[in-house]
Symmetry: C2
Amino acid sequence: MNLKSLAQHLGISASTVSRVMAGRGDEFRIAKETQKHILDEAAAMGVRPDELARSLRLQSTRTLGLVIPDISNPFFAALARAVERRARALGYTVLLADSQESDEVEAECIRTLMDRRIDGLILAPVGGDSAHLQPLIASKLPLTQVDRVFTALKTAAVVADNFTGAREAVKRLVKLGHKRIACLQGREDSSVIVERVRGYRAGLSEAGLRFEGKFLVGGEHSQAIAREHTLRLLEMKPRPTAVLALSNQLALGALEAVRERGLIIPEDLSLIAFDEQPWATLLSPPLTTLAQPVEDMGTVSVDRLCELIKRGGKPSRKALTTLPVRLIERASIGTKKKD
Amino acid sequence: MNLKSLAQHLGISASTVSRVMAGRGDEFRIAKETQKHILDEAAAMGVRPDELARSLRLQSTRTLGLVIPDISNPFFAALARAVERRARALGYTVLLADSQESDEVEAECIRTLMDRRIDGLILAPVGGDSAHLQPLIASKLPLTQVDRVFTALKTAAVVADNFTGAREAVKRLVKLGHKRIACLQGREDSSVIVERVRGYRAGLSEAGLRFEGKFLVGGEHSQAIAREHTLRLLEMKPRPTAVLALSNQLALGALEAVRERGLIIPEDLSLIAFDEQPWATLLSPPLTTLAQPVEDMGTVSVDRLCELIKRGGKPSRKALTTLPVRLIERASIGTKKKD
DNA sequence: ATGAAAGCGCTAACAG
DNA sequence: CTGTTAGCGCTTTCAT
């Protein structure tokens, strides 16, 4: 059932039906009676305009693409939820794609989405290399980067204040007397990690502590790898007395290692982790976290993108939005006891 | 840039270009040379067929809809990931919608997806009432239900063996000497919960224990509500010595309550929870879980749906697929000590 | 105030 | 082997 057959059924033209269904009946001064007639019959027959045909005709799909590296990472799940909700509120549908932490899959996802003629794209890039994003940039598709971003690409971008978050965490640890503070990182080429490591080093340096390369470990967003690196940290002599884990997945790996070695938090090791999670408070002891403003990041990304779409893809002045990170202090950090 | 302009540019017809771009050049015995020419130029100019126009013409979008109640629930996130991955492998794109545990939003999601002319839908219904799904059923859109299902609706369906899982968990607890085993449920009208509660009661009854209504608490998929109900359980005299939590979110609520009351697991209370999670092993003590085959559920849902699409929506014989649940025993359950 | 006709970009039937 | 033509369902001039 489509508009045309409904029109025939009612003995009027498809144009009139189309105008009424688009809510523009008054604008075209179509008889109230006719309007009611059409609307009633459409509802009764369950006729709705074919979005596909509309999109083709209007050259607009009212669909946004969202590409994230891993939907099973709760941070990105929360981000997706926020994006979806805001987009829905603004009348957009979201096409979600999971790039599986792979540049190749990411490029493929973006191609697929572009083939579907999305109106705009929100991209949380895998990181590292941006070469495969060239066609996307060249296409002039309205684009907002979120979380991990390539600042070299001149697009709107929404990020958490990763630098300040990490720096404040380190400063807090220093205040508790820690001098050997290690940092467990993910992919070193992701902007998020770069910023957090920068914050980590700034925190050390502002406290007059020397940065030690051997205390900066990791290099992948994986719990298993994080566990291994933490095990190695714990074997060092003297070993670090505190660890800053740069994501929730990495924190889980660190916790595994600590447990395996039979060490106690915070007596043997203080731990702070990025990403607040429902289970953080239920660990023994509860975990100190750096809560990212993930809801806001999703909402603002959509808003930025929609502005961009309205402006026809012309970039705005204020390209980068930075949202604050909050330190939630719990019992996983304590005064350094032994040395 | 589109096929037509590419055709003009090359001085050949759009049909030929279309056929070559669809990879059917050989089928139409188009000169190898022409083919190469077209493909090269298309690649050089970045021309790709407009999926929108193709879909309209072919009356097929190669898009599947996926509606889940809550993407921020890691179980559904994992499901979405599996669905996305399998669909991609089969050449489909997935439109994901989050119904936010609301029947109204769910109905709205389904309408939006149908307007976009998806080829099929995978639905994890909110539960309870299926009245709002009538239009969907009537539309004959290929449909697979997953996780929560309405068995009254004659559609393909993929579920975990919730009944057996819950029953085995109870039997294990009974074997450890427990006699007062409570059950913390989610929405009682969801099929998943109904089955798990049925398994819980079967487990009790097979052990010769009486089912006690006051030990079956809860009614919402929320950590906060679960906490409150558990607090109430812990106030009972005599109080239960073991709890079966019917989801990961409920388990977190239960853990909150236990901690607040200063009780020790498993000495004061044994706990088993549905859903295996990365943090389960890191709790103190590690949590005994019932691992759902979430990867398989996603994969099989897509496969079932694609079969259905191929068969033109005709339902198959074997409508319901049940996949096994696995009990992962850890230290959160123990012999009943005091009474 | 409403209708007829063209066209969004593509593919398939038919023609040659 | 390749081209011409019609039409998927819609919206929008342009005409009346």
